[in-house]
Symmetry: C2
Subunit: 237 residues, 2 copies
Amino acid sequence: MPSFSVPHALFFDVFGTLVDWRSGVAREAERQLSPMGIKLDWGSFAEAWRGQYETGMEEVRAGRLPYANLDIIHRRNLDRILARFGLEHLDEAAREDLTLAWHRLDAWPEVSAALTRLRAKFLVAPVSNGHTALQVALARRNGFCWDTILGADAARDYKPKPQVYLASAEALALAPRACMMVAAHSYDLAAAAQCGLTTAHVARPDENGPGRGENAPSVPVDIAVANLTELADALGA
Amino acid sequence: MPSFSVPHALFFDVFGTLVDWRSGVAREAERQLSPMGIKLDWGSFAEAWRGQYETGMEEVRAGRLPYANLDIIHRRNLDRILARFGLEHLDEAAREDLTLAWHRLDAWPEVSAALTRLRAKFLVAPVSNGHTALQVALARRNGFCWDTILGADAARDYKPKPQVYLASAEALALAPRACMMVAAHSYDLAAAAQCGLTTAHVARPDENGPGRGENAPSVPVDIAVANLTELADALGA
């Protein structure tokens, strides 16, 4: 039996933990831009865009900008990197369309089946910085069935601010200790643990490109697994 | 083909529209109180409790009390009716337990299968005055699979305030016109229509006891059906 208190609910980080944003954004960018004759290193483009992620959210977390959903943040971040790729000529419509690449990401291979197993035993919800409409799109595309969607939209702030984890537990009328945060990112798990949640690290060694992802947590966690199938096994789901 | 614009999302009222609160609360009250030797007309008890519903929510809608979720409102309302049934001696624990009766309600017979059909074609979400934890409990009990849970908790206010309908459409990044409110209550549909949503009335002639429910809408609606199976048929789901 596990050495931590078995949770009632599992909270999932989504970008990187459940879905492969790098190859998905690279594919969508190529699909939209290559017909315009644009040739890029699509993986580098995806990485550069994601590279603005923390900057964009930090403006909200620090209170310098009001809460705006991740479509708006992604769009701001896109505007910041286009010149670097010689794409400053892209028009509004193309920028809007490109921003929806983040709605069209595929799950890592084991995720959908493992989530179905986990849902049979636990309440399951995304606690992501992605907003509700984006999470609905990803869930529909990948066949996830969530109990509800929690996270940034519900809390009107971004992880790793404590309010996001605490509001998510409160929405389900659960103590933080009854909730387990599942993520491929140590900073997310450290913040969740600080709020009293239990924590599970999932290795995604290729998240940022081959060999460039967290293969193991850099902070104490309750359990570390290679993938969600292993988590379902460990939790007896 | 329908004469209204076909929606992208269906928003469902829950108490009375999807679940039979009267017989469920009556059954749960009897299960909890009869072992204490209490004998009541359980249906009348359920009706009296529900009879305080609008009063309890109006205090929030009018801004006299801050937003409190429906467990808190149900509990306040219970305290108000106990003396009428000679139950003023019930202790805290019994009152808390009784309040959870509202989490243990069964769906009307056709609902679960019809929702599965509707989900294949539309985004589906409860837009109820019940909060997230309560909706999760009802969904788990009855096998509903929602895309997400919207309504009072997300809007921090109660229907029929416009904000509840508008915030629900916004959460899915949809125009109000792309959302259809489905309810057994004309007041709910009138408010939704005022916000620009399309509307479907579902007949629940026995909601408040035999023959005491809305058999037909008293306001203009886009479609009126006898049950959710008929709605699925009409929408081609």
